[in-house]
């Protein structure tokens, strides 16, 4: 059973001698053949890279962009709901003193 690839990959990439043009005819032709093969491969590779990249770009661009304002306002609303449940408390003199002292002690401890 023939294996089918999702992306068509040229056969010559995997087998050097399948194409008659790529077969070595004689020693005198070898440099020419190599050079031709190199350029052909380079050209095809470049084309396939560009094709893949273009496809990837198209796929990424086609993803629908989210509606940013909705996200931002959703954050604001949930924050507002959060704040609605808050209550302020008045601090007593003692609490204020203890709090300031705690902050100072905490700083001294860390430094």
């Amino acid at each position: 059973m023939d294996k089918k690839w999702f992306i068509p990959i040229p056969k010559w990439l995997f087998s050097r001698h399948t194409h008659p043009r790529h077969c070595r005819q004689s020693d005198s032709n070898e440099p020419d053949s190599n050079r031709r093969r190199f350029f052909t491969r380079a050209a095809v590779s470049a084309a396939s890279v560009a094709g893949t990249a273009g496809l990837a770009k198209a796929v990424v661009d086609s993803i629908p962009q989210p509606d940013l304002s909705q996200h931002y306002s959703k954050d604001a609303v949930s924050g507002e709901e959060e704040l609605l449940s808050r209550e302020y408390v008045l601090m007593t003199e003692r609490e204020k003193q203890v709090m300031v002292q705690t902050l100072i002690d905490n700083y001294d401890e860390k430094s």
């Binding site: 990959i9 990439l13 995997f14 087998s15 050097r16 590779s45 396939s48 890279v49 560009a50 893949t52 990249a53 273009g54 990837a56 770009k57 990424v60 989210p66 940013l68 304002s69 996200h71 931002y72 954050d75 604001a76 924050g79 507002e80 959060e82 704040l83 609605l84 449940s85 808050r86 209550e87 302020y88 408390v89 008045l90 601090m91 007593t92 003692r94 609490e95 204020k96 709090m99 300031v100 705690t102 902050l103 100072i104 905490n106 700083y107 860390k110 430094s111």
Partner: protein, 342 residues
Amino acid sequence: MPNQEKSKQKDSKLTTRRDFLRGAGNYTVASLSGAAMLLSDPKPAKANVTWAEHFQKNYRLMTEEEKREAIERLETRYSEEYGKKVTVDDTASIEGVLFGYALNIQKCIGCRRCVKACMAENNQSRGSEQQIEWIRVLRMEKGNFSVEDRDQHGYPESFGVQVGGNAYKPAGVVLEGQHYYEPEQVPEKDAFYFPMQCMQCEKPPCVKVCPVRTTYRDPDGIVVIDYNWCIGCRMCIGACPYWARRFNWGEPNLPKEEMNPVTHYLGNRPRMKGVVEKCTFCVQRTRKGRWTACVEVCPVGARKFGNLLDPSSEIRKVLAKKKVFRLRADLNTYPKFFYFMD
């Protein structure tokens, strides 16, 4: 002869497999690099530093040399992007300083100049679609705020059984307000205003939950964020009981001509899509001995800022002499942002 044939066939198979692997490898690498190139940001300044930024360490773990390199990269990038000389400061905490903030809610007139000054100073995203404000001013109806001494009325109901002489006194206000009020004139007759921003907690829940330790509390009490390490998980947003953190859902919109070029690495440098930001007590200013932008701009002097370790500072005097309120004191986050009344 049959052995030789077999050997040839074996060689041929090996070559084919090698060729296959080589070809597949080349093809994959070429395709991926091509795709990466096309998908990467086309802006040259950004592209030049993207890789370096991507692989840089957490700011706290960087050596001085690495910090210097990172800052130079950013300065170059921002200067190119915004077409002006941008500086990125990395001034550390001043020794013997613990910043605190107090806001007189009786004086606040709800003009929201603090919001606008903060936006301009701290390079926040603007525009109708993606506006980010570190300060939110809540407008509330007058009459809901009572500060009467409830000691004479027994323990407050909502606190249940009080243990150990806990003397919390509910101020009698549950915040019910709106942020986007547009009055013709401020202050309005029947309203009072409650500006909200990061409380710079002494025990910040946002720091505790950050899975990558990108947000942390500096010795001067400011909770900062290394934007390059933020992974945008929004855990800190969920953990903050004061709704002080903002998330960049999109690439921030910061017009070149409005960009403040005096920045701090942990403060007002331009942020990117997918990171969290918040008030930093204008770290780029306060570590240089200046007021925060909101304190400076407040037309009624409702905002007080200073060193909590200095007994003669304004903030300590406020704490000693005024009626002071705390929000969500039950959470034991020890906020260093206080509300007060004369």
